[in-house]
Homo-oligomer: 255 residues x 2
DNA sequence: TGGACTAGCCTGTATATACAACTTGGCAGG
DNA sequence: CCTGCCAAGTTGTATATACAGGCTAGTCCA
């Protein structure tokens, strides 16, 4: 029983995806043109066109008529990975982002962290603890573990300038994410860092992110319930952009 | 300054989408085959193929080689609309769903409700208040308003058997959704209905849903923080399915 | 020197054609 | 009556070809 042969355009897509996720082709790099693929891969231009067009739809590449095809900057890939960076999020709504780095240390993974990151007990990971502020008000505690051999320079980064999320994205495209959202009372340490009133709840996002087929980082993000919300808009592909004014109106609906 | 002519395949897509969202073509209905489109729309088969293939990718239709093309059952459209139905969600994890209908009344929209639903003050809406339980434990308070002329039979429905979400989906495909998630302390009424301890936070989902181009329903969903989470998995199109066992492991990560 | 033009590459679309694989229904033979 | 087979319709893929339109670099001319 031999495996069924994949169609030619799919082989082409796989080939290019492999070159991207291996790091051989990096964001903004030029991808072979349709005619180059015709020559090098022995396909017709329509087949090359289909492969590249579908990669565009899936967010891997961007195409500019007259110039060529280029690997996407993955920051704008998915709805979620897009909102992954709190600094961008704050800036987008006109606030000023600042952050305090409480901890940036190298540790040995234990227990749940090792399991979440699919590494053995004792493997080295970085442990980051940051407090992000919008206009000086604390808005997120980021408690993150990063597999050390994925980001060996992590300990030397200045996370005031570039958030961990932006840094990790720059190393290699983050391709898959899994998250859990819950409402929870914070422990005393988190409450103090977020300057929260007693009994005020936290919105907690627990997120694990994959790159090149393995989990590379695991983050627990605490936000004060009184001043943070997750928003989302879901429309079929091809729908005109949403009306931001309307969204704001909805957000102000308090009881 | 004339508007730029849309490409032929896009006109074809628009034509079919119009027939679907107008209700002329309903879920499971057969869509004209490629050859029929060639004849009726004067395009080549490759162009018809591209239109139908993209509609497949976008979730509007499903295609079966040898049989034909059929309008999708929209329940499985988007990541979010899929999880829209709490009864399915409970059933999927092996629980038993039950629910208490606290209120199902016809009202006149006022203030924020009218604005959220894009209707004038005084227009008739249904107001639903339900408590959903998993294995007898209250897990969600659903406080929903529905535009009356979208679902005129709403008042006669038995929402023990079919949740509002399933009912509304059956009337017409829900095509767009907008939601806000926050952590909040419940008021006394909600806390009592969910049998929550004092100071226990709620995970609140506020969701507005569109059909045929206008908002038709607006819901406030309160969940007890101690026993409810939103989960999500985000992967590029074409990635093999996630590993559920792993997700469970992550969810159990408590502190 | 500077500006206009053009050749050459690129993507985007459209068509005609071909073959493969799948599904269904009907028909012929047992 | 049942079984097996085949024909017709459908989707899925692949190719060759054509033309339109965007972009760039280099050339030519004033």
């Amino acid at each position: 029983m031999t495996a069924k042969q994949k169609p030619r355009y799919q082989q082409l897509k796989d080939h290019i995806i492999t070159r991207i996720s291996s790091g051989e082709l990096r964001p903004t790099d030029r991808v072979p043109s349709e005619n180059e693929l015709v020559a090098s891969m022995s396909v017709s231009r329509m087949t090359a066109n289909r492969a590249l067009r579908e990669l565009t739809d899936e967010g891997y590449v961007e195409r500019i008529a007259g110039r060529g095809t280029f690997v996407s900057d993955f920051r704008s890939r998915s709805h979620v990975l897009e909102v992954h960076n709190i600094a961008d999020e704050i800036e987008r709504r006109g606030g000023v982002h600042s952050c305090e780095v409480v901890r940036n240390s190298r540790q040995h993974a234990r227990g749940e962290i090792a399991r979440a990151l699919h590494v053995d007990q004792g493997v080295e990971v970085f442990h980051l603890l940051l407090v992000h502020c919008e206009d000086g008000t604390p808005i997120q505690v980021e408690d993150r573990h990063v597999v050390a051999d994925f980001a060996p320079e992590c300990g030397d980064q200045d996370f005031h300038a570039v958030t961990p999320s932006a840094y990790l994205t720059a190393i290699s495209p983050l391709q898959e994410a899994e998250q859990v959202v819950r409402a929870q009372q914070p422990n005393a340490a988190v409450r103090a860092r977020l300057q929260m009133a007693e009994h005020e709840p936290c919105l907690v996002v627990i997120r694990r992110t994959w790159s090149r087929g393995r989990p590379v980082t695991f983050a627990r993000l605490h936000h004060p319930g009184s001043c943070y919300e997750l928003t989302g808009h879901y429309a079929p592909p091809g729908t005109p952009k949403s009306t931001p004014a309307d969204v704001v109106q909805l957000e102000n609906l308090q009881r």
